[in-house]
């Protein structure tokens, strides 16, 4: 039988499904109570299923005869549409509705749908985007007493930038004590984030792992201090090279290494936020640092290329 849309064929009415259901129920009860009862139920179910299918398939065994739809033609047959009066009254232009109901309904549906969609979407998208841009202030980190930083020597300090985030926030800074200048201790604290694409720069020179010093800070976190003697810093990813002040001397970096702000609190060195550096003239406590707001790796902060980065997200 060809399926068609105007002649739906539905199986004929049948009472056998009731018997089939009873049989299945009998099988299920029998499985718990007794095997013979289950067997009887199975027989009932199979038999009823057979008769049910026979009923349902009757249409295939004896073709259904469709009586043709017929209608007696009235004596005074209607004239063809082209000949008679118009079926609907002819409307003048002024009579035609300027703003019919269906246009209103269409606009209302689209408008309300759009409004509801927006009400749902805007908070969800905000939830996805906004947390990346709010409350991004860097926390201050205590890296231990000043006595752990011998004058004139670089050390590697590793610490948790945000202890609440755990090990994923571990950062490394290269710290050099420049001695006391006009009554205040001076430090050079260089971030190890390469100014090319953010890989960790490494000291070019010996690192004295045997002299490793683990300090328990006032914040309860461990800070590792390792002395070293760098002739500069180099990045393993793409070969960027820096001098001991963090100035780029070779390779792809676009500026000097970033530095940490710091303060001295209760005889401890405390790291604050980071800032970007275009260039450092001189060394140590006498250095002139051309400092800028923190920019991402690979972003120019001077020259025409800096025009490409007029705005920085809060960080």
């Amino acid at each position: 039988m060809e399926p068609s849309h105007d002649q739906p064929h539905v199986p004929g009415p049948s009472l056998w499904p009731i018997g089939f259901a009873l049989g299945i129920a009998c099988v299920l009860v029998g499985l718990i109570v007794s095997w013979p009862a289950a067997a009887v139920g199975a027989v009932i179910a199979v038999a009823c299923a057979y008769f049910w299918i026979r009923d349902a398939a009757r249409g295939y065994r004896t073709p259904v005869v469709h009586e043709p739809e017929s209608r007696a033609v009235a004596a005074g047959a209607a004239p063809p549409a082209s000949a008679g009066e118009p079926a609907l009254p002819v409307m003048e232009d002024e009579e035609i509705e300027r703003f019919p109901r269906n246009v209103f309904l269409e606009g209302a549906t689209l408008g309300l749908g759009g409004l509801i969609g927006g009400l749902v979407t805007v908070p969800a998208v905000g939830f996805m985007v906004a947390p990346a841009f709010v409350r991004q202030h860097a926390k201050s980190v205590d890296v231990g007493p000043l006595t752990d930083f011998p004058e004139g020597q670089y050390v590697i300090a590793t610490f948790l930038r945000d202890p609440s985030q755990g090990e994923v926030s571990r950062r490394t800074a290269y710290v050099r004590n420049n001695g006391v200048v006009t009554g205040r201790p001076s430090f050079t604290i260089i971030s190890n984030r390469c100014a090319h694409l953010g890989c960790p720069v490494q000291p070019n020179g010996p690192v004295f792992d045997a002299k490793k010093n683990v300090v328990q800070t006032t914040q309860g976190e461990q800070v590792t201090i390792i002395p070293m003697q760098p002739a500069g810093f180099g990045c393993p990813c793409h070969g960027g090279q820096y001098d001991t002040e963090g100035n780029r001397i070779a390779g792809p970096p676009v500026r000097s290494l970033d530095r940490y702000d710091y303060e001295i609190k209760n005889g401890h060195l405390v790291l604050l936020g980071t800032y970007s550096v275009a260039h450092v003239d001189g060394t140590g406590s006498g250095a002139k640092i051309r400092r800028y707001g923190l920019a991402g790796p690979g972003e120019h902060i001077t020259g025409p290329e800096a025009w490409f980065y007029p705005l920085q997200p809060p960080h």
Binding site: A57, Y60, D162, P297, P313
Partner: protein, 259 residues
């Protein structure tokens, strides 16, 4: 006797077809699938034309293996690496499924490029299939974004630093780059949210986009048909018959309006 047997076998076939007829009458799905599977293609197409199906197969492998990997993977900085080790070393056949997903990702991208090269060299991107080329390019970009987000998930040194570099390359884009990088990191620095964010993009958002784009891509392939080989008489660039049923789509020159 013979006719009676014939009617009997016909009746049997009808009964066997009954479920399909039932489905067809209510959904048209059977006809749709038949139309898709048995549609006409040019007579001289060959193995080159299987690259698209191969790419689709690679994608389906990624979907299936990815869903299974998600059952054992922990998108959390403290346990992601350990869960990958667990999948590889402890879970039965985990090494195989992870390997299929890890290498299948490269297969998917490589096959996309082969498929793209075939379409380009055969001129199959030309009228009326330009839109499908554009969708294909979007699929390539989306597929590579899927690869980028998946690369962080093993959470080993390669994964971490490659993602740092990748995010920072995005960050060097003019004007909006720094904001894009911060959105990808989920903050000013890579943190616990970054891996969960990449996981959500990798698992849910990007595959959804890929599936939608693949659906559009296939729709246009079926609607417009497979282009004949360029060296045949009906090849790309030749005068062509109107697309069946859509005479409005033909170019003026094909209708002889301009010469």
């Amino acid at each position: 006797m013979a006719t009676r047997r014939t009617t009997r076998s016909q009746r049997l076939i009808q009964v066997a077809n009954y479920p399909l007829d039932w489905l067809e009458e209510r959904s048209g799905l059977v006809g749709g699938v038949k139309y898709f599977l048995f549609r006409k293609v040019p007579a001289d197409i060959g193995w080159y034309h299987t690259l698209g199906s191969a790419t689709l197969t690679a994608f389906l492998v990624q979907v299936v293996t990815g869903v299974i990997l998600a059952m054992y993977y922990h998108p959390d900085p403290n346990s992601a690496y350990e869960s990958i080790q667990h999948i590889t070393n402890d879970v039965t056949l985990g090494w195989l499924v992870r390997g299929m997903h890890r290498w299948g990702a490269s297969v998917f991208i490589i096959l996309m490029f082969f498929h793209m090269a075939r379409v380009f060299l055969f001129g199959a991107y030309k009228y009326p299939r330009e839109l499908n080329w554009i969708i294909g390019v979007l699929l390539l970009a989306t597929g590579m974004f899927e690869g980028f987000t998946g690369y962080l998930l093993p959470w080993d040194q390669t994964a971490y630093w490659a993602s740092v570099v990748g995010i920072n390359i995005n960050g060097t884009a003019p004007f909006l780059g720094p904001f894009l990088a911060q959105f990808l990191r989920g903050g000013a620095e890579i943190g616990p949210d970054t891996i969960a964010r990449f996981y959500a993009l990798h698992m849910l958002a990007i595959p959804g986009a890929l599936i939608a784009l693949i659906g559009l891509h296939l729709y246009l392939v079926i609607r417009l048909g497979v282009s004949p080989n360029p060296w045949t008489k009906r090849g790309a660039g030749a005068e062509r018959e109107p697309v069946p049923g859509r005479s409005g789509l033909t170019r003026p020159s094909a209708r002889g309006v301009t010469k």
